[in-house]
């Protein structure tokens, strides 16, 4: 009797086990299919970037280049001023990311650790700027820069805002993260005679590394990918960033008889690569930064 009952339970649990395996397998299968679908555009871009000009316009299209044209990745640097655009983009990133990280941290510190009249008011005001469409400020900013500063066709309109808080979302993220660090640490340091800046620099910053990395990555992406800012403020091709350069190149690639699509795809890859590499090297911090800042509403 006992053995029969035991056999029944174990066969039931074996069935449950099988069902669980089926669910896991189906999940993997669906995720893999979806992941492949998501990757196809990359595959196609890389493949196109290794083709010859005419090959990109074959009907029907070929999946892989007949002979991979690795030379495209050399030729691209001289076919268009890609090197100039690239160094312009790097310059802007180098000039803006530290500004956003530093000033957002300072402001977030005030929001998270100080108690002063107007704090909650300013916090609401800051968050409400997230709702404001950029067009409302872009037009008057352009006029101000043009009339009073002579900043049109310079990088100043792109750089200066990053040193003034770096945007509401960035400050919010840092503040949320700072709130998760116990205040006991500050208090202990204060008892030891540390000033507020010392507390920030020696106690909080080292604990904030995931958030700092997250903010830096987000700001890097924002600057590296920004199109509208450079598009409005920069006129001469020598000042173009990669984003503008790609668009400039695209209009050329379409208008000529001799298709340049393969080189356009090469340029696209070159532009996307730094962002992807950066993400891979900091992925660990990035996910933790978002999870730990409790950014979920």
């Amino acid at each position: 009797m006992a053995t029969a009952a035991l056999a029944r339970t174990s066969s039931r649990s074996a069935a449950a086990q099988r069902r669980r395996w089926a669910v896991v397998a189906a999940t993997y299968l669906a995720m893999t299919a979806l992941a492949l679908l998501f990757c196809f555009p990359f595959f196609w871009t890389i493949s196109s970037s290794l083709k010859t000009g005419p090959e990109t316009h074959f009907v029907p299209p070929t999946f892989l280049p007949a002979v991979p044209q690795w030379g495209n990745y050399v030729r691209i640097w001289s076919a268009q001023p890609v090197a100039v655009w690239m160094s312009n983009s790097v310059l802007i990133v180098v000039a803006t990311v530290p500004g956003a990280v530093i000033t957002a941290t300072l402001v977030a510190y005030a929001f998270a650790r100080f108690d002063y009249p107007g704090r909650d008011f300013f916090f609401v005001v800051m968050l409400s700027t997230l709702m404001l469409p950029y067009e409302v400020t872009l037009i008057p900013q352009y006029i101000i820069y043009q009339k009073y500063f002579g900043w049109i066709n310079t990088y100043w309109p792109l750089i200066v805002p990053s040193w003034l808080g770096g945007g509401a979302f960035t400050i919010f993220l840092m503040r949320q993260f700072l709130m998760t660090i116990p205040r006991d640490l500050d208090d202990a340091a204060r008892v030891d005679g540390a000033g507020s800046f010392q507390i920030l620099w020696q106690i909080l910053i080292p604990l904030c590394r995931p958030a700092l990395a997250t903010v830096a990555i987000l700001e890097f992406l924002r600057q590296w990918n920004d199109f509208l800012g450079p598009f409005v403020y920069l006129n001469t091709p020598e000042l173009f960033t990669m984003a503008l350069g790609i668009r400039y190149f695209q209009t050329l690639a379409e208008s000529t008889q001799d298709p340049k699509t393969h080189l356009l795809m090469t340029a696209t890859i070159i532009m996307a690569l730094p962002a992807i590499l950066l993400f891979f090297s900091c992925q660990r911090y990035f996910v933790r930064g978002i999870v730990m800042s409790g950014l979920k509403g």
Binding site: P41, T56, F114, F122, L164, W224, I276
Partner: protein
Amino acid sequence: MSRRQRHVLEAYLYMGPWLVGYIALTLVPVLLSLYYSFTNYDVISPEKWVGLRNYVEAFTKDDQFWPSLAKTAYYAGVTVPLGVVGSLLLAVFLNVKVRGTSVYRTFFFIPSLVPIVASTVLWFWLLQADWGPVNRLVFLATGIVLPRWFQDPSWTIPALISLALWASVGGTRMVIFLAGLQGVSEELYDAAKVDGAGSWARLRHVTLPMITPTIFFNLVLGIIAALQVFTSALVATEGGPAYATWFYALHIYKQAFGFFNMGYASALAWLFAVLIIALTALQMRLARSWVYYAAENE
């Protein structure tokens, strides 16, 4: 100076960068924009006060005002629900505790890292009607002839929607959902299991209610972002073909920096701001009936 005064002074020093930035880059420009919206201004000659004429013109004379609003609403109305639901499903998927999910997470995240200019160029070639792989492959596999995405006015917006979904479904929004899902306490699931709830019932009655704040957050930000769609439309077809992707933000841009009607463009921008703020306020009101904040009930 007392310790209290010193504390407040230090706070304002730390706040400094943002305060200066807020006044110089937001407050003053917003007020200037309001002023310009009542003027005719081409940047070169001094502005001329015209009262409400810009606003009246927008509602009555501008051929592209209502159509561009309608196209923007269409784009956002499809992109946001599909995008938010897609990100949520993906997050639920990736939250299942099986090995290798972080690899998949990376796969789905990468598209969001690609600069929008680059991804638009890429999409333009993927969906190219003659030698693009999508139309060709679908034709070879099923015999169906797909539309000429970027030449056919009725298919350009769907093409841009598919681009937006590819670029955003697995991005930061999905990571935020994952964070939300991981914040749901195991005890609730255990309690539901004891009560005999299957996995679907747990998702429906435990997970979803607990992450309504996250859904709300993503919905609000998603709508604000989608309504401002600009770069993809400009890079793909410059608002064409036949004004098919002439979204509202593009309309403002063209008025301001194409025709230098700064006054009129400011009026358009203000109408846009009012619309977005009203929509957000409406959502906050509606949220009371469906968003569940655990902390309030503790």
